[in-house]
């Protein structure tokens, strides 16, 4: 399983692997929004938590179809299915690899983009913390969506349609943490709910993803 | 026709839109059911004719 993780990471970092695409996309959103909304600091500071969370979510979405597509095409997914590792483990590793190559860089770069959007100084800690807590859920939910659409020729758009509604709770609580943090309010409740969603998703969704992969390989 | 007062437009709009949507749904289910039934009859006939 560790070998699988290393292999997935290596594939992602290789040219054409798509690493960095999500980051660039996140950056572009943070640049486009002020251009569209106008440069007033008050407005940007007000909407910054939401924009940063929506941007992170869309950047995550962008790379989801790569999770299984390549392995499905060259047949290594069939090999993995017959390998002596449980499919639940395989999908968990895939989600972890996706998070390491997409979610974690987003978390690390988010303070810089917060700067562009005049995020209030007291919110930076909450931004990083909420993204660090929330992006694993995005990766795991996204892996489930990718598993559902793995056999389809043009699954990309369908994948977005399936996954985005599932992202709603994470988005609401994640953005709420940052928004409350920016206003200096108590963030314990949304933070706990966000962590709860992530913990639940990480613990349970791999079973659904593995089940779906097995159905698709039948 | 009851006197709907100053909300006549809203109320009739809501009723018309809803009934229209339900009507469209019923029509769609009915047409699709009919076309599938006809196609199936055709296939069945072909099958008994050949066999």
């Amino acid at each position: 399983m560790i070998a699988l993780l290393v292999r997935d990471l290596r594939l992602a970092f290789r040219a054409g692997g798509g690493f960095g695409l999500g980051l660039a996309f996140f950056l572009i959103i943070a640049v486009l929004v002020p251009l569209g909304v106008g440069p007033e600091p008050e407005i940007l500071a007000r909407i910054a938590p939401g924009i940063l969370w929506v941007g992170a979510l869309l950047a995550c979405l962008l790379s989801l179809d790569r999770i299984f597509a390549l392995d499905y095409e060259d047949g290594s997914l069939d090999l993995l299915a017959t390998a002596p590792v449980p499919m639940e483990g395989v999908v968990s590793v895939k989600a972890l690899a996706h998070w390491l190559t997409t979610g974690l860089p987003l978390v690390l770069i988010s303070p810089v983009l917060g700067l562009l959007l005049y995020l209030p100084p007291q919110a930076y800690g909450w931004l990083v913390l909420s993204l660090a807590l929330g992006t694993p859920a995005l990766s795991v939910i996204g892996t489930f969506g990718a598993a559902l659409t793995v056999g389809l020729k043009r699954g990309g758009l369908l994948l977005s349609l399936l996954v985005l509604p599932l992202y709603i709770p994470t988005l609401v609580f994640g953005a709420e943490v940052v928004a409350r943090g920016a206003q200096g309010l108590d963030v314990a409740t949304p933070l706990a709910l966000l962590a709860g969603i992530t913990a639940g998703a990480v613990a349970l969704l791999p079973f659904a993803s593995a089940l779906v992969i097995r159905i698709n390989l039948r | 026709m009851p006197d709907l007062g100053r909300y006549a437009l809203e109320v009739s709009l809501a009723y018309l839109a809803s009934l229209g949507l339900i009507g469209a749904l019923v029509l769609w289910y009915w047409l699709r059911g009919r076309s599938v039934r006809q196609q199936l009859d055709e296939v069945e006939k072909r099958r008994t004719g050949n066999g």
Partner: protein, 243 residues
């Protein structure tokens, strides 16, 4: 005593619905017509809402069926995953577009009612937001069904999506509640003492609810019959090609 599971046999299902479908269809038309005509022509205006109160006779039953349709799909999906009855999976498939349209009706009638009452077509109120999210879930479910060729794979995948989606739909409901405490009044019908609705409104409303329920049953039965036939046709055509 016949077991419920006998209806899982497609042939038995077709034979039963041969006579059941027309009965339910006629009942649906009669009951809904009575309810809506009563609601539209023979109810007094509310002293605050005026004639817009009449919208409730469509809005509430449609909203109720929008949720009930999803619950029915959830149960049917579970039955399919556990007992592998094809009729169950096909019934879930047939229910989805009805749920979608009911959600849309709930949203539209709500918007038309909200415009004069709240002064806005749309408000990001938890109930409204939850319904919009439910609409998205229906869209995804229907899109997944239509994207997959193999019927058994499609049934399996959509069933799993329905289960996972249900959990997230409930989570979204609480997220929306948390996110914005809203304008929308509480449930129109409540069993708690001191119900706010007069019997002059409640009677036609109950009739409309039954009517909408019957419409739903009629369409699900009709849609399931169509799906069973479509499946049989697919199998026959495939067999012809093999020969």
């Amino acid at each position: 005593m016949a077991s419920l599971w006998e209806y899982a046999n497609p042939l038995k299902f077709m034979r039963t619905t041969d006579w059941l479908l027309p009965v339910v269809a006629v009942a649906a038309v009669v009951v809904t017509t009575i309810g809506l005509v009563w609601g539209f022509f023979f109810t007094p205006d509310d002293f605050r809402q005026g004639a817009t109160v009449k919208i409730v006779f469509i809005h509430v039953p449609a909203a109720m069926m929008a949720i009930n349709a999803w619950v029915m799909m959830l149960v049917a999906s579970l039955v399919w995953l556990i007992r592998r009855h094809h009729v169950s999976a096909l019934a879930a498939k047939a229910a989805a577009p009805i749920g979608l349209v009911m959600t849309l009706i709930g949203l539209i009638t709500g918007a038309v009612w909200g415009q004069p009452m709240w002064g806005t077509w749309w408000a990001w109120d938890p109930r409204l937001t939850s319904f919009l999210i439910l609409f998205l879930f229906y869209l995804g479910y229907i899109a997944l069904w239509s994207a997959i060729d193999d019927p058994d794979t499609g049934a399996d995948l959509t069933a799993v999506l329905c289960l996972v989606g249900s959990v997230f739909a409930v989570l979204s409901r609480y997220a929306a509640l948390f996110w914005n405490q809203g304008l929308h009044q509480g449930a129109s019908l409540s069993v708690a003492p001191g119900t706010r609705m007069d019997w002059a409104y409640k009677a036609p409303l109950y009739i409309c609810m039954v009517g909408f329920g019957l419409i739903f049953v009629t369409l699900v039965l009709a849609g399931t019959r169509t799906e069973i036939r479509a499946r049989r046709m697919k199998a026959l055509v495939a067999r012809e090609r093999m020969a």
